[in-house]
């Protein structure tokens, strides 16, 4: 008992003990329930059984008629921002704000509690419409060049028997021409 870290903290300073005990307690509760509340983190990444998807999505970005390979030559966080924001936009364009849909489904009739906060925590259709303009600015920031045109295509890819990539479908997500 005397060798326990929390016991030593308890003997040294009760306030510090309460700080640690509270942090440990809430962190454990968050992990047991799977709900993350910063700074009480849940460390469950890649723990779910991966299901083989019907296809994998690849975003093909063409800037000023040249393909931008964001998977190399960019720092990881830059790559993350370029790709993750596109996935989010695609999801929103297809079905609206996924968080709103999730909460409506989860809360059912109690959803009305969220109504007063909708404009602060969900993305409005106006904001979704602004995305292509913002993405252009971020691409300019990333590439350091003025963008006259850019296009984002969503490629659906599968792996063949030899584990090589086949593109089975392609559709345009954003087509921005700023030359005029």
């Amino acid at each position: 008992m005397k060798r326990l870290f929390l016991y030593k903290v308890y003997c040294y300073n009760k306030k510090l003990f309460l700080f640690f005990a509270f942090f440990a307690f809430v962190t454990i509760i968050c992990n047991l329930t799977g709900n993350e509340i910063t700074p009480f983190y849940v460390w469950g990444m890649y723990s779910q059984k991966e299901k083989p998807p019907e296809y994998y999505q690849i975003y093909k970005i063409t800037v000023n008629d040249k393909i931008l390979d964001y998977s190399t030559g960019f720092f990881p966080a830059n790559h993350f921002f370029l790709q993750s924001s596109l996935s989010y936009y695609l999801e929103m364009k297809e079905n609206g704000d996924p968080l709103k849909l999730f909460l409506q489904k989860k809360m059912g009739s109690k959803y009305f509690y969220v109504l007063p906060y909708e404009s602060s925590v969900f993305n409005s259709s106006q904001n979704i419409e602004k995305f292509p303009g913002w993405y252009k600015k971020y691409l300019e920031q990333t590439t350091g060049q003025e963008i006259k045109s850019y296009k984002v295509e969503v490629l659906k890819a599968i792996y063949d028997n030899r584990n090589r990539i086949d593109i089975i479908h392609s559709e345009t997500l954003i087509n921005g021409d700023y030359q005029k």
């Binding site: 059984k49 299901k51 190399t72 966080a77």
Partner: protein, 272 residues
């Protein structure tokens, strides 16, 4: 006592400064985000509070404020390196970094865990003398918990029993790279792993077991040097197999080394 703590403080904040410089090269400092429009608060109440107060949107949509916050972040970090005993600077840095953390994850459209170590590692430097030692050790438990929890999540969800797990994780994360660079040397290695799922699964399960070894750290410090080495290896594995860069996690690895390592006179510093 102050000498190793100041040295350690400088070491931690030099690492953080390098990470901030890397954010600059990554175009992810607040002013570089160019007034982003889509938010992702998810179901994290802390993010909700910040967005209800309109703090992330207000800062990121005003270039002068965004620039000021970025400059203040760098300045406070460099100030701590110059004056490691100034707790006020550490407090200011933590506040600024918290705002940066919320903005990065909100507009990055995914709540990544990679920045967490930068958010928690400075906390012990807010405390003096013996309280610092307890907080530093608390940080060690935080690291142990992060890996142990990752192990238990996988253990109880039984994903480690699924023989396709390794290959599917790779495909999920590396398909764009393999599509754009099918003939690179790294792609050749990746394709080799995809062609040999048993081999990939071996590495996945090895990583899972290595995460589990951190449990031992809750009972003894005798094996901390081995855990330190494992904590350096795991982020490499996350990068290779899942394209997830967790270099910031290495800051927490410092807690696995005895404080005497950071002392020039090599006198052991410990809690009794």
């Amino acid at each position: 006592m102050d000498q190793p703590v100041h040295f350690l403080c400088r070491l931690v904040f030099v690492f953080i400064l390098l990470d901030l410089i890397m954010s600059g090269f990554s175009n992810t400092l607040i002013h570089q985000l160019r007034s982003p429009v889509l938010i992702f608060p998810y179901v994290d109440p802390t993010f909700w509070i910040m967005h209800l107060l309109h703090i992330p949107g207000f800062i990121s949509s005003h270039p002068v404020i965004a620039w000021s916050l970025d400059i203040a972040l760098f300045a406070s970090c460099m100030g701590i390196i110059m004056y490691p005993g100034k707790k006020l600077l550490v407090g200011i840095f933590l506040l600024l970094y918290f705002v940066y953390y919320i903005i990065f994850n909100s507009f990055g459209a995914h709540h990544t865990h990679s920045l967490i170590p930068v958010l928690v590692a400075p906390v012990p430097f807010l405390f003096s003398k013996r309280s610092f030692l307890f907080c530093w050790e608390g940080l060690r438990y935080f690291l142990l918990f992060s890996y142990s929890a990752a192990f238990f999540w996988k253990l109880f969800r039984l994903s480690w029993l699924y023989k396709e797990q390794g290959v599917l994780v790779m495909k999920e994360n590396l398909t764009p790279y393999l599509y754009f660079n099918p003939h690179s040397f790294l792609s050749e290695i990746y394709f080799y792993f995809l062609d040999h799922p048993g081999f990939t699964q071996f590495f996945l399960i090895s990583g899972f077991v290595l995460e589990g070894t951190f449990i031992i750290g809750f009972f003894t410090k005798k094996y901390d040097r081995y855990l330190f080495i494992i904590s350096l290896l795991l982020p490499f594995g996350f990068w290779f197999f899942a394209d997830a860069v967790f270099v910031e996690q290495l800051i927490l690895s410092l807690t696995l080394l005895p404080l005497s390592v950071y002392s020039f006179n090599k006198k052991p510093v410990s809690i009794k």
